[in-house]
């Protein structure tokens, strides 16, 4: 029986792959899309209108760096007109007070600002941009001055994980109500740099203890969302809460994908918003239906009592680590391919290699 398909909850609008930063764990595909192929303003406005009528509730403007687009205030306004709750995911390295006021006036509801470390030198080294930390700090002040709620997003890994207490202090000092401490997820650029990022068990356990204590201490003051590296887990993450169940991503050139890494999967043709309506893409495209429900699963997922909890884990990770998107996520201890994850964890106990920075090839 085909699975029941509910309307999507959220749209990730990747406005551009252009970005002043070159983080070596960037979640954008290794083959970045060029400016010339980007959707125009009218096309994005149509996508936002279609998303709202499809039932999407929240839109996340992201990239790359979405602030490279001059039409961003107009796109935020369009989202507001359609009743979409809008969120800006930014590096905070382009613009400041003037831009933020325009976004707030257009109806933006929230800003998620990324940092690479609490400590400026290491932040700028990881970002590959001198002065980035200072720009981000003044950007945060502009967000608060405009009355918008701020979430600080800290990407953590073995080269900055020891600074979690200072990251928490920094988020408080910047006036954030939410702090996301997200371990690097190993796709695209981050997979190429995995050995430079994956923390040891000890490092992870220390950080987790600090986060748990801070959550209790700062209840009602700072909410801390904590994303652990799935490699260290026993069961896989419920990736995107299931393929094509809640989430829709549109890339800068208009390709619709169920998650930002899905383009790495071979044998799937992702439809473009230039050729199809979002409703057709969501309900009727082969790509979105391919891993919906549980019928596609092989063992050990098929008979697993968690099959509708974690949905077999991540399809991209299954392909990247086991060579087949239809297999169990190798992060799962029950997966026959789990050995590759154990080997990577073994490597995390020794010294890290140098970074490969994100770049257009």
């Amino acid at each position: 029986m085909p699975p029941r398909v509910d309307p999507p909850l959220a749209l990730l609008a990747e406005l551009s792959h252009r970005c002043p930063l070159s983080c070596p764990y960037c979640s954008n595909p290794v083959a970045l899309e060029r400016a010339a192929s980007e959707l125009g303003e009218a096309e994005w406005r149509r996508v936002l209108a279609e998303a709202a009528s499809l039932g999407v509730l929240q839109v996340h403007f992201s990239g790359g760096e979405p602030m490279v687009r001059r039409d961003l205030p107009s796109l935020i306004a369009a989202a507001s007109d359609h009743g979409l709750y809008s969120n800006l995911i930014t590096s905070g390295t382009l613009g400041g007070e003037r831009e933020i006021s325009a976004f707030a006036a257009a109806g933006l509801k929230h800003v998620q600002l990324s940092f690479q470390d609490f400590e400026p030198t290491n932040n700028d080294r990881i970002a590959g941009l001198a002065g980035a930390h200072a720009r981000k700090t003044s950007f945060a002040a502009a967000v608060r001055a405009a009355g918008l709620p701020l979430t600080v997003n800290m990407v953590v890994h073995r080269q900055n994980l020891g600074g979690v207490p200072e990251m928490i202090d920094m988020a408080l000092a910047l006036g954030a109500r939410r702090l996301e401490i997200a371990h690097v997820q190993y796709y695209a650029w981050a997979l190429a740099n995995r050995a430079a990022f994956l923390p040891s068990r000890q490092q992870l356990d220390d950080a987790t203890r600090i986060v748990e204590a801070a959550r209790t201490r700062l209840k009602g003051i700072l909410a801390i969302d904590y994303v652990v590296p799935d490699y260290h887990g026993v069961r896989p993450k419920s990736c995107m809460n299931g393929w094509g169940r809640q989430f829709l991503n549109v890339t800068p050139s208009g390709k619709a994908v169920p998650c930002h890494a899905a383009e790495s999967l071979p044998g799937l043709v992702f439809p473009s918003v230039r050729d199809s309506s979002l409703a057709d893409i969501w309900y009727r495209s082969d790509a979105f239906n391919r891993f919906r429900g549980t019928d596609w699963m092989a063992e050990p997922c098929r008979s697993c009592d968690r099959r509708e909890i974690d949905w077999g884990g991540c399809r991209c990770q299954a392909f990247l680590l086991a060579g087949d998107a239809g297999r169990a996520d190798p992060v799962c201890a029950l997966s026959p391919d789990h050995g590759v994850v154990e080997a990577a964890l073994q490597q995390a106990e020794s010294a890290p290699p140098a970074f490969v920075y994100r770049h257009f090839s």
Binding site: L57, G83, Y85, K109
Partner: protein, 99 residues
Amino acid sequence: MERLEVSATSVLRLAPHIVFRFDETRQRWIMMAPERLMLPDEQAVEILQLVDGKTGVAAIIDALATRYTQAPRELIATDVTAMLQDLADKGCLADAAAR
């Protein structure tokens, strides 16, 4: 910044970035916060509709106690306060007096 403590004397409003509305697609009330979607149940919806910046928590409890005569007021008071405290801790509520 201090934690907002909810008590019977509190007067609350939704925080400025919180959207509480009826969703036509799903035919139900929803509440949206930064990168978070909440689906309040029927009772929570009744309570949230009274979080208007004017009605105090004690008055919200009274309103519910009048509607649900089988439940003791004390129990309703505990449930309402706990729910509002949880939402306050998530940054969804603000003190109506503070600007």
